[in-house]
Subunit: 125 residues, 4 copies
Amino acid sequence: MLQLDLKSGIPICDQIVNGFIRLKALGALSADEQMPSVRALASKLSVNPNTIQKAYAILEAKGIIYSVKGRGSFISGDTAAEAAVRISAEKALLEALHSARELGLTREDILNAVNKEFFTKEENL
Amino acid sequence: MLQLDLKSGIPICDQIVNGFIRLKALGALSADEQMPSVRALASKLSVNPNTIQKAYAILEAKGIIYSVKGRGSFISGDTAAEAAVRISAEKALLEALHSARELGLTREDILNAVNKEFFTKEENL
Amino acid sequence: MLQLDLKSGIPICDQIVNGFIRLKALGALSADEQMPSVRALASKLSVNPNTIQKAYAILEAKGIIYSVKGRGSFISGDTAAEAAVRISAEKALLEALHSARELGLTREDILNAVNKEFFTKEENL
Amino acid sequence: MLQLDLKSGIPICDQIVNGFIRLKALGALSADEQMPSVRALASKLSVNPNTIQKAYAILEAKGIIYSVKGRGSFISGDTAAEAAVRISAEKALLEALHSARELGLTREDILNAVNKEFFTKEENL
DNA sequence: GTGGTCTAGACCACA
DNA sequence: GTGGTCTAGACCACA
């Protein structure tokens, strides 16, 4: 459900944050569903609990989850947070497109890339 | 010609490297044109000369520029380097597209983004 | 009558204690009126009975309620407790005012806020 | 310039975050001014550097400061962040006013509290 | 058991 | 020297 790549150079904490954001966007996590506890996820991923705690704090700050002391953490149903995720995803995409164009890719190159993304993985979603 | 954004969180050195790659791809820098000296650029950008030195070393390693002892650094005409830039740009774009899709953007959203990039800025290039 | 907000970050026990203090101050609870039983309230609010128990103990320590062995808990008519509530409310308000001022709100901003509170909700009390 | 109260029960990190927000709102910190380094502030306040790091990360997330790797952290000139501070201050005040009213304070009590805040400390600002 | 804070100390990239 | 991440481990409040 969540896979870490320790060699990627991407901070573990970021991988966890982005992993949950992705899982939620994919519909794999529904509102008010309980998250694994900090300690449970830490031992499952072989990561220090502090790192999970930090990731959960970031997710809570983003409105993706909410935490109840003594009870646990839960997926938030916050639609504003969902919208924010989509907006930032679109912003990141626009930057990537702009950068790709500046680096010499033509409109055709880019459309080919779009098709590549949507063909090779069409059946996986 | 080269603008730094200290608040972006992107390392200064990276911004300089990418800036020159972009300028070259845009055709603003032609083969064998002389690069500003390390010291001159450092003072112009208010950046530590070591940082410029490092950026030039990276650009040279990528084949984007070449240096002549005692004379300075110059833009390379190396076509292999250009190809490498295009390939890495395409790779980055594919990752951005994949990520955008995972975060909930549909094929239509993505095509709209492509059109947005190519319409609003058509005249600027 | 008593509504919990799990996402607020405020401990459940505190929300219950403050909820009853508010209800009493609003006149919704009269002296010697019986409180719901610990178990009943726990199931109604979907909360651990220990949490309700703790909240009632705090309310009793504050003199807001009193308990009779074998019979249950009742609203107290204690005027000293009411005075204590008002004093702590005033202290909290002073702190809030001080903080608001430090964060840049002017006397006018604050007076506007006071008017807003007393106009828009005048009819609700 | 920044004073901690270890006995207050308020997390050290929060005190630091709120302290800087307050200092900025009071005009004691101007845009692009350099913050004390994480380590320097840690030793000055006799607090673990991790705690300062966390506080700075929160301040950066709020747009109050920005950090440049290898250079340091600086006060942001971000006006949106300033507005956000004022808005949240106003929201907190409205809640405090609402709560005070519910707990039995009259409009006169509240106006007296406002005057108390603005008289006793008028000369200190 | 749950989330959350803090210290201590190592280690990394960047300037 | 600067910010930033991570582990290890103690400790606290809350349910």
